[in-house]
Amino acid sequence: MADASCTITITAGLKHARRAVALLHHPASFVDASTEFEALSANGERHYRRGFDLWMGRARRPKRFHGFDQSEYKGKYTKCFTFKNVDAGERFYGFLCRPKEPSDPHFEMCVLVCYGKKKRDETDPAQLERAERMRKDPLVLSALTDPDLFVEGAGKNI
């Protein structure tokens, strides 16, 4: 059973065949995606939810979300991902993983880790570093194997 201090709650795509988006709850102080997501205004939350839908549906919307390829940051953050609200000058950072391996190796999930707000439309490498750190964190890796991860009704109320 996963450590109760670290849980991963799927917030979009629980029954989606290809992709899902989740929020991380973790004792590390910089992990604030979950609390910040819950504090969003109604329209702010809608903006991100529509972005989640588009990403899960394989749309290409670099103004709403994107990953980081080998040419950026010396290829250090190729598993990191961001969902943005350019007009509001804010974004959520997270990492990509495949929590249904080996039975469904193509299923991909974005786990949101932290939130950043700033005026300039540029990625904050410090936030990427945090997301990358959580990608390898033992508590997170354990939470990703929780058998209840994809069970409807499990997880926190968000």
């Binding site: 809608r46 839908d53 549906g57 919307r61 007009d87 509001a88 009704g153 109320n157």
Partner: protein
């Protein structure tokens, strides 16, 4: 509690936001392509800049007249239509991304009306039938060739056998003499 209900089922405002947000995304894409700012769009569409900022931040309350103004300012058209998603009647997956509809229209060579749509459908069906017939003839010829070791039987005027025979006949008489027998019958 985590559940499977899609967020656009929470309220009609959520649903409207999702659909209008797609509209704004496609406008934004075209503005980027043209290098237009919101101020330029506001001027071209004869809408206040404040209103443009508002609809970009909260697409859910955009009116049809404003949609038409901004779309036409960018030399774009727009479509608004309800549809039945037979695979998802309870909206567990949310509205279909409007880009999917646009891509389907573009893939169908942008039919301007039902005449054009039906003409393209007929052409596609006819091409598909031609391809199927061609495939059948190739398969038949290859089959005859393989069964006869290259000694393809000829008809009475000396032309090679090209008529398609039912497969079951070939299967029951899969020798050169068998094929000739059928042909001469």
């Amino acid at each position: 509690m985590t559940n499977t209900r899609h967020w656009t089922e929470r309220s009609i405002e959520d649903f409207a936001y999702s659909v209008a947000s797609d509209f704004i995304d496609l406008l934004r894409e075209e503005m980027d392509r043209l290098g237009w700012s919101k101020s330029r769009l506001a001027k071209a569409a004869n809408v206040s800049k404040g209103r443009i900022t508002q609809i970009f931040q909260n697409p859910g309350n955009i009116e049809m007249i404003t949609m038409a103004k901004v779309a036409r300012a960018l030399k774009m058209k727009m479509a608004v239509f309800p549809y039945k998603d037979l695979d998802d009647p309870n909206n567990e997956r949310g509205p279909i991304n409007s880009e999917v509809f646009r891509l389907c229209w573009e893939k169908a060579d942008r039919p301007a009306d039902m005449w054009a749509f039906e003409a393209k459908q007929t052409a596609q069906t006819s091409a598909a039938l031609d391809a199927a017939a061609l495939y059948d003839n190739i398969a038949f010829g290859l089959d005859v060739y393989l069964r006869t070791g290259g000694n393809v039987p000829r008809n009475q005027t000396g032309n090679r056998l090209t008529r398609q025979l039912p497969i079951e006949i070939l299967d029951s008489k899969h020798t050169q003499s068998g094929i000739e027998e059928v042909w001469n019958a």
